[in-house]
């Protein structure tokens, strides 16, 4: 495996070329899907007073929150058949709803009772918000709520659906919105022109329910995950740059950090990207089957990575080797992926308990707990010193 310093330099360059992200949270699990925040940017000691506001939401959902400047964006659905789809914009300072735009579901809204029509996390390029729902209705609004375009992917391709619900989140890169709508029947991923909403490409994808989300490997290069593995796709034309074909999970997603893609495949498999050209075939750095994540995806920071299994056990692995370092039981289950700054990890379980775990070399320790008293199934967002988590009824801001 290449030494980390070289990788850090190379990927820092890559990172710098990505869209603005300093105090924003523009996609599912943040930049690279690594769920990483700047060290010291989130509060370690938590109490009820740290809940800055809790805003009522017009509908249910478990999609993650976006933060773009002083605005937070979240999707919800309501109505007797959950066919009213909302994109809601709130003030990050007050929690006041600034605007709420609705469309009707044009695809099926049937889903498992634990999930929701508002399951996929939207994404943003800093100027627009792109949102999709389990019904495969896709919308693009500017930050002020002006509709730019919309699509009904199931209206276009009637067998794109999943009776358990769709959940893959969106990405935008190279002026292309990456739209994974992979399922048992008519299974696609699409690259859609971010400006017009028209297809740039549509790829046939492996038939099989797939709830994982793509990851930006480099500007204009994305990793699509499925049961067969990883396909690195050029966003502008949909061509394949490289493939990893040793299988991958269909629930938890990969994470990119410092030029290494951590894939939930046979446990976790670390794929090192070519620092000079991430479009070249990566090399496998290591594979560790004791690091298998459950629903939540792995997170990466410092010299470690972390996964949570189905029993609510947090496992720390050595990032260079994959070797397990320590384990800590943090009562689950967890649907959402934690965030970390490398020193601490913020994990929110389904019961709404926010735990802050101090991440040591040899052990982890829970140093703070905050009970939100609300079922939380989303992955938290983090921006400007605050965590944002949502439930079926509320959006909570925790921190500064």
């Amino acid at each position: 495996m290449p030494r980390l310093p070289a990788l850090l330099i190379a990927t820092a360059l890559l990172t710098a070329a990505l869209p603005a992200r300093s105090e924003n949270w523009l996609e599912f699990r943040g930049p690279g899907g690594a769920s990483r925040v700047k060290e010291g940017s989130l509060p370690v000691e938590l109490s009820a007073a740290d809940v800055r506001w809790s805003a009522d939401l017009p509908g249910r959902g478990l999609s993650g929150v976006l933060v773009v400047g002083d605005r937070a964006f979240v999707t919800t659905s309501d109505g007797p058949t959950q066919d009213r789809l909302h994109l809601v914009c709130l003030s990050t300072s007050t929690g006041k709803i600034l605007w709420d735009r609705q469309v009707w579901a044009t695809g099926r809204t049937m889903c498992h009772s634990k999930t929701s029509v508002a399951a996929p996390t939207p994404c943003s390029d800093g100027k627009h918000v792109y949102a999709i729902f389990s019904s495969n209705d896709l919308v693009c609004f500017d930050l002020d709520g002006n509709l730019q375009w919309l699509r009904g992917i199931t209206y276009d391709y009637p067998n794109v659906s999943n009776s358990l619900g769709m959940a893959s989140s969106l990405l935008v890169t190279a002026d292309t919105v990456i739209v994974p709508v992979e399922n048992d029947s008519e299974s696609y991923s699409l690259g859609i022109d971010a400006a017009t909403g028209v297809n740039r490409w549509r790829l046939d994808r492996p038939k099989g329910a797939n709830w994982t989300s793509p990851v930006i490997l480099a500007p204009g290069l994305v990793a699509l995950q499925s049961k067969t593995g990883i396909e690195a796709i050029r966003a502008t034309d949909g061509s394949t740059a490289w493939s990893y074909t040793e299988g991958a999970d269909t629930v938890s997603s990969s994470a990119l950090s410092d030029g290494v893609l951590y894939v939930p495949s046979n446990g976790i498999t670390a794929l090192t990207l070519d620092p000079a050209d991430p479009a070249k075939q990566p090399t496998q750095a290591w594979r560790e089957n004791t690091l298998s994540p459950a629903t939540a995806s792995c997170v990466v920071a410092g010299d470690a990575l972390y996964t949570i299994n189905g029993a609510g056990v947090l496992t720390a692995g050595d990032r260079a080797t994959g070797k397990r370092r320590w384990q800590l039981r943090i009562e689950g289950p967890y649907s959402g992926t934690p965030v970390t700054d490398g020193k601490h990890l913020w994990a929110v379980n389904e019961a709404g308990l926010v735990r802050v775990v101090e991440l040591g070399e040899k052990e982890g320790k829970v140093v703070a707990t905050l009970d939100l008293g609300d079922e939380i199934l989303c992955s938290p967002a983090a921006a400007d010193g605050a965590l944002y988590v949502r439930s079926n009824t509320k959006l909570h801001k925790i921190g500064r």
């Binding site: 605007w99 919308v139 709520g145 009904g152 209206y155 009637p158 358990l164 029947s185 017009t196 909403g197």
Partner: protein, 402 residues
């Protein structure tokens, strides 16, 4: 959702008259001028650029234009309707909220049941936001409304009155009110709850007939679906329906046999028709078929539905299994998905029934998964209109038969 056939690209661009609540025609305005561009959007983003410009015009309109915008949804495809739906949010926000809306004209729009059902429901919500009491009163006349949601809320009011009667020990009056609500309801959860309450009070309900589930079928199988390959395989029933023929099945000759489900939600349990053979005494679990049912198999079921007239209808299906459906020999829809869940009206398929006999054929596929939740091999199918009102075959609810 309903599986829409791809509409002609020009559909939304066809000039249309905007029927006003009073029956007149809309006067040209920036909004009405902008509507054709919105209505021209279609599959795969067609017309998005022009629609985005038009959306800006419509979203900037005064609240007085809301009935015109709502009327723009009449006959529009679902994508065009969504462009207008979000514009209405912008207009309402700009107007400063519900209190500033033209309630009287919205009520007139709502009263005209020729308008798009979802547009009327939206008009109702706008009225309710401005004047909740007025909206609530309007519901009293909507128990038979073509809008499923308006009807649902109107029925909920009837249920509330019945609940009060029940609480007041007026059992017979309560039962009559619940029966009225049951008869009017087209919402699955509401219907199921009402059936329970009515039965608790000693009343009777016919859920099968209310929904219009088809109970009587001829069924043939099992055919081979090893590795799921049978889904695409054309077995004889797809080519020619001969209910007297002996066919080559997965394990020998098979023939059509009648099946009549007693399930009140019309669930036809195919496993009951094809129980697995008893495994040898020394067989390991993995060597034998699941004790609950066969694996890697396919069955076909057919029924004849005699329609009183040529008419539009919907075939609505629920199943956990992969399936294909034909109406009068023409494929309607298919889906290759196994064991992701089943519910009433899971799939809605618009069809046209012809006067006289109509043949409905379904192919129901079972895969080879051996998990506790993969044993079901079943379906439920009903024929109804777009509101969900059962369409019964000539001769009554139970007369559909092969």
């Amino acid at each position: 959702m309903v599986f829409h056939r791809r509409s002609p690209a020009a559909l939304g661009a066809v000039a249309f008259l905007l029927a006003l609540p009073g029956g007149g025609v809309a006067v040209a305005s920036p909004v009405t001028d902008a509507l054709p561009a919105i209505r021209a959007v279609d599959h795969e983003g067609k017309g998005n650029a022009a629609a985005a410009k038009a959306w800006g015009v419509i979203a900037a309109a005064e609240a007085a234009a809301l009935p015109d915008i709502l009327a723009g949804m009449d006959g529009a495809n679902p994508i065009a309707a969504n462009w207008l739906r979000s514009a209405i949010d912008a207009v309402v926000t700009k107007a400063g909220g519900s209190a500033k809306l033209p309630v009287d004209s919205l009520v007139r729009f709502l009263a005209d049941t020729k308008h798009d059902p979802r547009a009327r429901r939206l008009a109702f919500d706008l009225v309710r936001g401005a004047d909740a009491a007025r909206a609530d009163k309007l519901l009293d006349g909507m128990v038979e409304d073509p809008s499923v949601e308006l009807r649902r809320d109107a029925v909920a009011k009837v249920i509330a009155r019945a609940d009060a009667l029940k609480a007041g020990e007026k059992k017979d009056e309560a039962l009559a009110a619940y029966q009225k609500a049951f008869s009017a309801s087209r919402n699955v959860e509401q219907i199921q709850a009402l059936a329970t309450t009515i039965r608790e009070l000693g009343g009777t309900v016919d859920l099968t007939g209310h929904f219009g589930f088809l109970r009587r079928w001829q069924i043939v199988g099992p055919f081979d679906n090893t590795e799921g390959k049978g889904f695409a395989t054309v077995y004889p029933p797809e080519e020619k329906l001969d209910l007297s023929a002996a066919l080559d099945g997965k394990a020998g000759k098979v023939s059509w046999q009648p099946v009549e489900t007693g399930d009140e939600y019309g669930v036809v349990n195919v496993n009951l028709s094809y129980p697995p053979p008893a495994p040898p005494a020394d067989a390991k679990p993995a060597d034998s078929e699941s004790k609950e049912g066969l694996k890697g198999v396919i069955a076909y079921a057919v029924t004849e539905f005699v329609s009183a007239e040529d008419r539009p209808a919907e075939i609505r299906l629920g199943t956990k299994n992969a399936w294909k459906i034909w109406l009068n020999g023409s494929p309607v829809f298919e889906r290759e998905e196994y064991h992701r869940g089943m519910e009433i009206d899971q799939y809605r398929m618009p069809v046209t029934l012809r006067k006289g006999p109509n043949t409905i054929l379904i192919k129901v596929c079972q895969d080879e998964q051996r998990r506790p939740w993969t044993t079901e091999w079943e379906f439920q199918l009903r024929v109804c209109d777009e509101v969900g009102t059962a369409i019964h075959p000539l001769g009554g609810p139970d007369s559909a038969a092969p």
